[in-house]
């Protein structure tokens, strides 16, 4: 329903927000927002959506939260509220186990849950064909390779099942690693035979006519300059703190040059679309929502950006909640609002 580019911006915004807002109140809010978006949008885009994640975000949270809290509490012996002490003969673990360390670990687990939930929603609502269509034009060959790989997955699974059945009929049973060769080698050979047929079909349709062109030396030289600038910027940023701004500028310049080369290389490629999707007002509004969230975590707020960071050390205190930042984070709900609105119109 929404454009794949909108979902890409949404998931990147979620990632930035989760990485920037280290305050458990904001993190819980982000967990709720991603859960709601996941529930509303996945049920809408479900039948044509992408693959479902093996773990649901809720299940991930039930594993990540206690594990992270426990690991941090057992290995970090900092904080004033001592719950109990581990004996001295335990290597690396001995020392006081504190409430603050538990809370800090749980907070890290929450951040991980937000990132996982965001990408789970992205994977679920974005159809594979839309993801492939996001491939930049310059990567047309890479796009073809990925398309072939994705298209052949169901065929490969069928082939694998056929080979397993054929081996089973002959009395062969898979018990361990040692039994893999009679399955994997025929699978590989049959796949390569299919690729031979596919290559012949591609050549017959004139594929080699464009793919055999080698990119210009100027493009490669531009890449060298871009990478050198990027590397120079990174080194300046790390080793010359006084010139930090120069380093950031060089990194942005180098990155921009690489992206520009990508764009220029893409201009030479003719790109046709069977049925193009139109950008709608809903897509724009969803992007505006992401912009609001980014502004909330990047721009200064009246209460200061200090509320974004929270540390339970040395003594546990209540985190501060800035309503403006909270409101900004709700911008990530926009895709769910757009989809609910469209359903209402229907």
């Amino acid at each position: 329903m929404l454009d794949a580019r909108v979902w890409l911006v949404w998931v990147l915004t979620t990632l930035v927000a989760a990485s920037s807002a280290r305050n458990p109140l904001y993190t819980v809010l982000l967990v709720l927002v991603t859960t709601v978006v996941g529930m509303v949008c996945a049920s809408d885009d479900g039948p044509v959506g992408g693959p479902r994640a093996i773990l649901s975000p809720l299940r991930f949270a039930t594993i990540a939260l206690p594990l992270s809290a426990l690991f941090n509490a057992l290995t970090v012996h900092v904080g004033d509220t001592v719950l109990f002490r581990l004996p001295g003969w335990l290597p690396l673990l001995s020392g006081p186990v504190t409430l603050e360390a538990f809370v800090f670990g749980a907070q890290n687990g929450l951040v991980l849950t937000v990132i996982f939930a965001g990408f789970a929603v992205f994977n679920q609502v974005t159809p594979l064909r839309d993801l492939v269509s996001l491939t930049p034009r310059a990567f047309h060959e890479a796009g073809v390779i990925i398309s072939i790989a994705l298209t052949f997955v169901p065929q490969t699974i069928r082939s694998l099942n056929r080979i397993r059945q054929a081996q089973a009929v002959r009395g062969y049973r898979m018990r361990g690693l040692r039994d893999w060769p009679p399955i994997v080698v025929p699978l590989l050979i049959s796949g390569l035979e299919r690729s031979m047929g596919l290559a012949e079909a591609m050549v017959a349709r004139g594929y080699g006519a464009i793919s055999d062109q080698v990119q210009s030396l100027r493009t490669s030289a531009g890449l060298v300059v871009g990478l050198l600038t990027l590397l120079g910027g990174w080194l300046t940023f790390l080793f010359r703190p006084a010139w930090r701004e120069v380093g950031v500028g060089l990194m942005i310049g180098g990155g921009a040059l690489i992206v520009a080369i990508l764009w220029l290389a893409g201009r030479a490629v003719r790109h046709t679309v069977y049925r193009s999707r139109r950008w709608t007002v809903r897509d724009t509004l969803a992007i505006v929502g992401c912009g609001l969230t980014l502004a909330a975590v990047v721009l200064p707020s009246p209460l200061g950006r200090g509320t974004l960071y929270y540390s339970p050390y040395p003594r546990l205190t209540l985190p501060v909640f800035d309503p403006l930042v909270g409101l900004g984070l709700l911008g990530l709900l926009m895709p769910a609002v757009m989809i609910t609105d469209k359903r209402g119109n229907k």
């Binding site: 970090v76 073809v144 390779i145 690693l177 390569l192 990174w234």
Partner: protein, 276 residues
């Protein structure tokens, strides 16, 4: 000239990527660096962007060179087969960090060369991430590391040819045993290296005991010692399953797979040129 420029792109993108992973090991102690790393919000995003740009630049260079339709088709199908193996790994949990993805990447890189190996490693992780719902901020790191596993496997092929030629045992029907033995060790090393490299992207921001965590200005030796302790405590057992699994898979499947791939390489390189 073309080779020099291409070599520079390989070297520089490798340097950017490696530096993005390993900067804690040699970053100097300054109040500015300490503050930047202590907050830990922007650093993972910046390093992810750097690794992403390095992968981008190398991919532009690699796919900008002429790729025949046969190579495109074969690469696509091999990625598909390897991704299905990862799908099985996700569906049926295997011990520790064992994954059947790396052995095919290493074997393909060994037979078809560095360029093919890099593309196969990087795209296998991308496609398997897409089909298993495993797309996330970790993906650029996984693609970069798996790509380099495939790329370096291509170097082994040249090295072995040179070694065998030096020993006077070269020929079309020479034994594959020494190659498989070297590839087993290579797969084992990459099994550990993959985990060790992937860990480094979050290690500077991880909280833990002082002897396992990084702080700016502790020096290269101390950083290595602390990272070693952290790795031993948290990752070695997990990564060992991957390393042993890689070695075992290459030992079991290496010879027949290398023979099959070599046979198809000859078939794919066969072309008829019409007389002018």
């Amino acid at each position: 000239m073309r080779r020099i420029v291409s070599g520079m792109i390989y070297g520089l993108s490798g340097a950017v990527g490696v530096l993005a992973f390993l900067y804690p090991f040699f970053v100097p102690a300054t109040a500015e660096t300490a503050r930047w790393v202590a907050h830990g919000q922007n650093a993972p995003l910046i390093t992810a962007a750097l690794v992403g740009l390095a992968v981008l630049a190398l991919t532009i260079e690699l796919q900008g060179q002429a790729i025949s339709a046969k190579m495109v088709a074969m690469l696509g199908v091999l990625i598909s087969i390897t991704s299905v193996l990862r799908f099985i790994e996700v569906a049926i949990p295997m011990p520790g960090g064992f994954s059947p993805v790396f052995a095919p990447v290493i074997l393909a890189g060994y037979v078809f060369g560095s360029r093919f190996g890099f593309l196969m490693g990087a795209f296998t992780l991308l496609v398997s991430g897409l089909i298993t719902g495993g797309v996330g901020p970790w993906l650029p790191y996984q693609m970069f590391t798996a790509g380099w596993a495939g790329l370096t496997a291509g170097w082994i092929s040249g090295g072995m040819e040179w070694l065998v030629h030096l020993m006077g045992r070269s020929g079309p029907h020479r034994s594959l045993r020494p190659d498989i033995a070297v590839l087993c060790v290579f797969g084992f090393v990459w099994g550990l290296l993959y985990g060790a490299i992937i860990n480094v992207w979050f290690w500077p921001f991880a909280m833990g005991p002082a002897e396992q965590t990084w702080s700016p200005g502790i020096g290269l030796g101390e950083t290595l010692a602390r990272y070693g302790t952290f790795y031993l405590v948290t990752s070695l057992e997990w990564d060992m399953a991957r390393a042993v699994g890689n070695g075992a898979l290459i030992l079991l499947l290496g010879a027949p797979v290398v023979r099959a791939l070599t046979r198809f390489r000859r078939r794919f390189h066969f072309e008829v040129h019409a007389d002018a």
